[in-house]
């Protein structure tokens, strides 16, 4: 007998829902409270509900769809959500442009840089036009005007390509821009003109970009998006598998689809930021420097370097030293000869983003002689969680496979931090369940921070025991073997016609994820001979880390109990570090120094890992919370 109900996984939101075979994928998204664009109302003509089939089988292409997509797109699995019915359980990727409400992206940490000494410098010069008495070339004139301040210098070929036009169009008032001793750009010397730098944090899931004024240090625009590579897999390993399984994509690493998508995605963010600035004197030609950080796989994919070796133990990067790549080589829409700086990587799973994150978190302790003996831990929680410990002026780092549960994956009603996600949960002493959603919309699912809260609150309200078993002492509790669940929101109050529940299986997923993180923390501490109370500061970075209730994380044992005044939630520290490197060349040296001296511990085959992991799976004794 054919199945009548199919499960539709909606990625990257991480929601899943069951629908009948006569319901479309658009129906599924609407039932699940995921807002896909649908301008024409689902009749297949507006092409705004584009989705991509990632796994499973859908009904045959309709004529409308054949007209909507190129052959290439059809091969990649593109469909219209309103035209496609499931023929099996399916996994559907929703491209960012098809989502009508943006997911909340993390763009905070706008604090002004304290140190401004960028690697890029500009000069204002006025040169004499040529005459019959002075037949020197255009470039010789520029050299002549710059000799007193710069001395001899190299000229990038692309500057020469437009040199005569530039000097004449601005009436011989020019501002030459140098990257160290190389002339990389020539702009007209208009008053108040600005030179900008681009800082980007390429996360596996999200991308955050900033435009920074290289002289004032101000962040004048910022933009975020989902990482467009998500269409090729949620995590790093599945994207690497995609390339391994598509040899045609491997012929030229600098041209593979994942590389192209991230460059296109960044160019869109640059366009958006420039149009937000809305200043006719500022164009992409004014963006004369860039710092890009990401984990090692994101770094390699961005730079067009093969990544297959990162998917197989011992996970070795192709390159770990810092790189400078001319923007024109990568097709990034900034000044073509700007040199994009990629900070060093530490190891296969600890990349330049972690190095960037160390700058605003660990480095202030590392460099301050009065804090020399500090013990400081910094943690960046994500699909891979990186942790660094400063002790005796040495930094030890590790990476834990915490998985995508905190992003909402593998959690029945889990979702990313988007409007309608439950982000806070409280259970009162009368055992009443209270919650708050993002943007105060009707609840449609639970975000990672909401899940942590819910589990901590259920544990302390005696609704689950220390092993994660559900206890039958609440009217919302239903205990039926594998289908054991607790109702957080009854159907009549939710944003879709279903109740929102937390299942025993969800709790199990979080136990595994938090167990991996805690095992990493414990191993770093014990290798240094430290106890949690020896830490002077516990710094929590990253999107998820910004929104969680740290106490909930401690109550379920993800973090050890540490006095709250020692815990600092700092937002996107990797992005902040990237901006520091943009504004100060000294920070680039610091990044190299830190990356060089970090001692990396591989956890997956660490002798203590199995024991620490199994010890960290259950919830800690409640008395510890006092």
């Amino acid at each position: 007998m054919a199945k009548d109900l199919f499960t539709v996984h909606l990625q990257p939101i991480g929601r899943r829902i069951q629908i009948r075979k006569d319901q479309t994928i658009l129906d599924a998204a609407q039932l699940a409270g995921v807002e896909i664009n649908s301008v024409c109302g689902g009749v297949g003509i507006c092409e705004s509900c584009r989705i991509r089939l990632s796994k499973g089988t859908l009904s045959e292409l309709t004529l409308d769809e054949e007209n909507s997509f190129s052959e290439d797109e059809i091969r990649q699995g593109y469909r219209l959500a309103c035209q496609a019915y499931p023929l099996s359980d399916v996994i559907i990727d929703i491209p960012p442009e098809s989502l009508s409400t943006p997911q909340r992206l993390q763009l905070e940490s706008q604090q002004k840089a304290e140190e401004i000494d960028p690697i890029v410098k500009r000069y204002f010069i006025e040169i004499y036009p040529p005459s019959i008495e002075d037949l020197r070339s255009d470039l010789s004139r520029i050299r002549g005007a710059l000799t007193p301040s710069v001395g001899s210098f190299e000229v990038d070929y692309s500057v020469l390509q437009k040199l005569p036009w530039h000097v004449r169009s601005c009436n011989w008032h020019v501002q030459p821009i140098f990257h160290q001793s190389k002339l990389i750009q020539l702009l007209p010397a208009t008053p108040h003109s600005r030179i900008l730098g681009l800082a980007v944090d390429i996360g596996t899931t999200k991308v955050a970009a900033y435009l920074v004024d290289l002289e004032s240090g101000d962040t004048i625009a910022q933009a975020g998006s989902m990482n467009p590579q998500i269409a090729f897999g949620e995590d790093v390993i599945s994207r690497i598998s995609y390339l391994i399984n598509h040899p045609e994509q491997r012929k030229e690493p600098a041209k593979n689809l994942l590389h192209q998508r991230i460059i296109e995605g960044l160019n869109k963010l640059i366009d958006k930021m420039l149009s937000d600035i809305n200043d006719p004197t500022i164009s992409y030609e004014n963006i004369v420097d860039a710092v890009i950080v990401g984990n090692t796989a994101m770094h390699h994919l961005f730079a067009g370097i093969p990544v297959e070796q990162l998917g197989i133990s011992p996970y070795v990067p192709a390159v770990s030293e810092p790189l400078y790549i001319p923007a024109k080589e990568l097709g990034l829409s900034i000044a073509p000869s700007a040199l994009i700086y990629l900070p060093p990587n530490i190891a296969g799973y600890v990349g330049a983003d972690h190095v960037a994150m160390l700058l605003p978190t660990i480095y202030p302790y590392y460099s301050d002689s009065s804090k020399r003996q500090s013990n400081v831990m910094a943690i960046d929680i994500g699909t891979n969680t990186e942790i660094s410990l400063l002790h005796h002026q040495k930094i030890t780092s590790c990476s834990c496979a915490s998985g995508p549960a905190f992003e909402g994956a593998h959690i029945q009603f889990g979702m990313r931090a988007a409007p309608g996600a439950i982000e806070k949960v409280q259970i009162t002493s009368e055992k009443k369940v209270l919650y708050k959603t993002i943007a105060d919309q009707d609840p449609v699912g639970i975000s990672g921070s909401g899940i942590l809260d819910a589990i901590a609150e259920m544990y302390f309200a005696d609704l689950i025991d220390s092993k994660g078993m559900f206890l039958n002492n609440h009217p919302n509790m239903s205990i039926q073997g594998r289908n054991t669940e607790f109702i957080l929101v009854p159907a009549e109050k939710s944003g879709h016609p279903q109740e929102i529940v937390l299942t025993r299986r969800d709790v199990n997923e979080i136990q595994l994820a938090k167990g991996a993180i805690r095992a990493g923390i414990n191993i770093l501490l014990s290798e240094a001979g430290l106890k949690p109370e020896d830490l002077e500061a516990f710094i929590i970075a990253g999107a998820f880390g910004t929104y969680i209730d740290v106490r909930s994380a401690m109550k379920i044992g993800m973090f050890p109990f540490i006095p709250l005044e020692k815990c600092h939630q700092v937002g996107n520290a990797a992005g902040a570090g990237a901006r520091q490197m943009l504004l100060s060349k000294r920070y680039r040296q610091v990044a190299s120094e830190l990356a060089e001296q970090v001692n990396y511990i591989e956890l997956s085959n660490h002798p203590k890992f199995p024991d620490e992991f199994s010890k960290s799976l259950f919830f800690p004794a409640k008395e510890l919370a006092n």
Partner: protein, 215 residues
Amino acid sequence: MSQEIFAKLTNSLVDGDPDATFEATKEALAAGIEPMVIIKEGLIPGMNIVGEKFSSGEYFLPDLIIAADGMQKAMTLLEPELLKRQQAIESAGTVLLGTVKGDIHEIGKSLVGTMLTANGFKVHDLGVDVPTETFVTKVQEMKPDILGLSALLTTTMVMQREVIKALTEAGIRDKVKVIVGGAPVTRSWAEEIGADGYAEDAMGAVQLARQLVGK
């Protein structure tokens, strides 16, 4: 007296308290109970209860991992004693186990090993990142009933196919039953690469192994 210790052993596994299992094992040895008896009367009943609760959906993976941890801790005390007495653990069959080349994930594979041990199989664990040739030579050398191949990454599961190919090329494919597992591995993948069996979890692996050795 010994009944009390057996109950302690069993309960410590069911309650997920590996340190208590370790202590109870020490106590049992000090009381002069034979290691083989400790395993049969104390540990195996405990692991079986955990396995049943897992299968019924009452227990989840963390419970299984912690029970296996307790079992492994107990075995570190019992194995030297068994060796001293030159006793082999009675065997339902022999299983050679390892994580494929390029993959260093330990826990899932060890869990399968412990559950098989607790159910009377003799398990040789080759560890992680095991080269394909090692699987082949060890199969030739040890002549196990079953070879279990673990892979936890989509990038490394292809090595399961390589091992099966290498066994065929060495002319010993029909001498051993090959079972595959790991997070990304599916039944259809197992069929595609010509494995003899697939199980979703450690308890499934025990049932599968029993079927394959016909017990």
